[in-house]
Amino acid sequence: MYPKDLKYDREHEWVRLDGDIATIGISDFAQDQLGEVVYVDLPSVGDAVSTGDSFGEVESVKSVSELFSPLSGEVIEVNSALDDAPEAVNDDCYGDGWMIRVKVDNLSEVDALMDADDYEAFLAEEA
């Protein structure tokens, strides 16, 4: 449920790093808590995102949640397929349900994120 090659933050986003490009989405825990996602509101290519700041919203039938950026950088790609198929966030949160790709300003920020084991421990603590 929590792939080992990803990093996670306390707001339940995941990060997949490839060089200085970070792909960002929400974790299995987050999608399960939300329930069936009906809208995803994402920034535009070229927007700047900052660690801990909201970069969008994800909305289910019952609730709406802010998306918080785990890293600072510039948005270089957004998953526009989610406009028509927001359910991908539930069905494949680490794959087709990805949200944005960011060119990371400062790679040392990655060190502050949790690995899969730490994230699972964090979830167990929260429960």
Binding site: G35, E36, V38, Y39, E59, S60, V61, K62, V64
Partner: protein, 368 residues
Amino acid sequence: MGGHARRTPLYEEHVALGARMVDFAGWEMPVQYSGIIEEHMAVRSTAGIFDVSHMGEFRVFGFEAKAALQHIFTNDLDRIDGLGTALYTVMCDEDGGIIDDLIVYHTGELEYLIVVNAANRETDWAWITGHLPETVEAVDESDRTALIAVQGPEALRIVGELAGGSWTPPARFAVVEAALGSIPVLLARTGYTGEDGVEVFCHESQAATVWRLLLSFPEVVPCGLGARDTLRLEMGYPLYGSDMDRETDPIVAGLGWVVPKVKTGFIGAEAIARVREVGPTRKLVGITVSEGVPRHGYPVLHGGVEVGKVASGTFSPTLGHGIATAYVPVGLAAPDTGLEIGIRRKVVPAVVTRPPFVKTTSLTAQGS
């Protein structure tokens, strides 16, 4: 609401089915099992069951029972003179403020069964018993009564198979005794989803058995309060606490049809007649949006100026877009009027739409 949450007799069933439990009006209730949209679609296409045992049931009987309830309810009990028939109504205070909306079933000679919202159970009991003459008896049956709604195009066939043999369903808004398996129940052809089906009353000790009998049909899907809300809002059915409360009268709430113009002598009659005479200044309307999900309390705008707030709002699984109700000035209440809704950081276009939002269901298919 302090204290610990109350549980229905089906609590263990919900937990065993992996339901997500939430607090609702002081009750620990399932909001969803597999997912709100999946459950919603099951009710629109086959059948779903809902635990609504948190609702209140009062039995009122005696020679003066009808006269007493005529005084308390706005709707006219002459419409259910026949035994085994039911009526939707509201009851109001002297100012015409809605205390609750409810269904009253004429279950026996000189006897009525009243089903009220869980959140209002204590208030309603105090109000009703406070207005009954000594000659009329009332019993609060809520704790020993379980209520399971079976809703969807397949609901009657399934209930029929459990009732067995020569069973024929009661007419719309009728209620009959039956046995499911060997369990004695009351079956009412009522519901809150817009689909055909029944609501099953039984003794709380039998609730789990009835629930499991229904779930023994593979096409029956357990549904939570989440789907109950999306289903009812697609039909434009009002919800007490969101679409109406003590501050709203039945006319402004669009419930004039449960206050017959010719009826007098009930609590709130004069106040409601005055609203009718002068005409309401606001009206509860349906609204559709093409993007985002409107939710309770979001501002409704006209030309950028706030003119009201969303009363009920959700995402319609059937239609694939947001739907809502809101109180707006009467001048903006006509269908197709263009409005806007403030959905957090965005202002999205909205259109006044006459409910029901979903026009075709298993109920409309049979022309009732």
